[in-house]
Amino acid sequence: MGEASINGEPAAAKAAPNGCSRRLTDDEFDRYSRQMIVPGMGKEGQLRLINSRVLIIGAGGLGCPAAQYIAGAGVGTIGIIDGDVVETSNLHRQVGHATARIGMKKVDSLITHLRGLNPLPTYVSHPFHINPQNAAEVISQYDLVMDCTDNPVTRYLISDICVLVCKPLVSAAAIQKSGQLTVLNCPPTPQGLVDGKYAPCYRCCFRKPPPPSSMVSCGEAGIMGSVVGLMGVAQAGEAIKILASALHIPSPPAAGDTPERNLQQPTLLIYTYDLESAVGPYSFRALKMGGRKRNCFACGENSTLTLAGIRAGEPDYVQFCSVPTSSVSLPPEERITAAAYHAAKQKGELPEHILLDTREKEHFSFGSIEGAVNVPFGKLLMKAAAIKRDVSPASEILPLESEKTDVPIFVVCRRGLDSQETVEKLKELGLDNGGKRRIVDIMGGMKAWKEEVDPTFPFI
């Protein structure tokens, strides 16, 4: 923990635009020869990499593969920031860690791995999470930032700081079976310059975060190791390209030369991988993005964003990313705890009822409450929409052809949010039969079931 020192060098030291013209050592020559002979790289490009400082934010599914190629390529100073420790469930994708290092800080584990790969770079450990108070100080020590994080709060924070301290940002993300990659703020351009073509920031691309209810983490939605790995490797490739060609050096704002120096078409790469089909439709799409937006909150012409403001809590990133959604608050009589449901069932107080489990079928397949019927939440919403359009009768949303319209319905999901929305939805469709039929949410979902009723339940 504590402040990172970079071998006593001044933190603001920066690569000379053209690299320096020193000789490569024999070790460097051997180690980097295969990439130096690639057209466009050469000794000059290699020296630029050696003189560069890269910050990798997040030592997880993106950060591990990205860091391996950044280290292998010989970037001179590699900083890694992450506050987590290595867990078993990380290892299928976080290939810079190891089974023997479970429980170790991720930054230390990853640096151990990287030193084995290439001992020449200087590795800087920042074993804490990035936040509005420390972000500017850490980021300004580097030439280029790689966003390998896993949540929108830090994505907006990192992008905002990169705009303010003029650093290029290579941003990647992945969930389940799809990934995204984009280069932002490159070449870096001072905040507020909009006359001309300048590269966008994260906010120019994604003005608003998704509502929290629709956001899922890799822990919830799952992630294929190869998908996130591919995005991390591609991210390293973009970073190496920028550094080797000195695109990370901000152009002086008043310089007489063309402001759109080397501006390439801003691109968002999308990767989609299809598990259902063994051949074919995995696909890459390169989407042409717009440039910097005149009215962008962070980099636009009237932006009021400042480093001092961010440090003082303005904007409030957590608040920004948790905009209120249509959160349902059910009355107490429409809710039951997992323990109370179990007890009532044991005592025979619930002779006949329907139990809907709205988790995804993969989650359901690991285990469910006896008698539960799986209707994944997404499918349920679709059916509800079809019913609203009068395409199908309301009863179709229920899995059973139940003649009786007064049999109570209980709804359970993973953690207790979707189930409440489901109860609301079913009532909206009139399935409560004018109040004659009870529709009840099992509070806290299968997570509560594991905690209150069955500790052996395989909750994922």
Binding site: A172, S178, P210
Partner: protein, 97 residues
């Protein structure tokens, strides 16, 4: 590969949470359709998709970013119209990693 849309239609691709919301990766919708009516058309088919997915997503037509007008009423001047055979994509931000 994405199937060619039938005559008088365009393909719309649903990425990430747009795909989970619609339970589809791709479908064909009737063309031509003014871009400003796209979100309304989708909301009719998938109630709630606007607030949950569309409002924070990127939209591309034929792999190029387009700005979706806030107003569904036709504005003066040129407007973007989705044409037969076009490929539209709904791209929500992904933030995990």
């Amino acid at each position: 590969m994405t199937p060619t849309p039938p005559q008088g239609h365009f393909n719309i691709l649903y990425f990430a949470s747009a795909g989970s919301y619609t339970s589809k990766n791709v479908e064909a919708l009737p063309a031509p359709l003014p871009l400003r009516k796209l979100f309304g058309t989708l909301e009719e088919r998938y109630k709630g998709i606007r607030a949950s997915v569309l409002d924070h997503s990127l939209v591309t037509i034929n792999l190029t970013y387009v700005e979706v007008p806030d107003d569904e009423v036709a504005a003066d001047g040129e407007e973007v119209v989705i044409q037969e055979g076009d490929e539209v994509a709904i791209i929500p931000p992904v933030s995990s990693g």
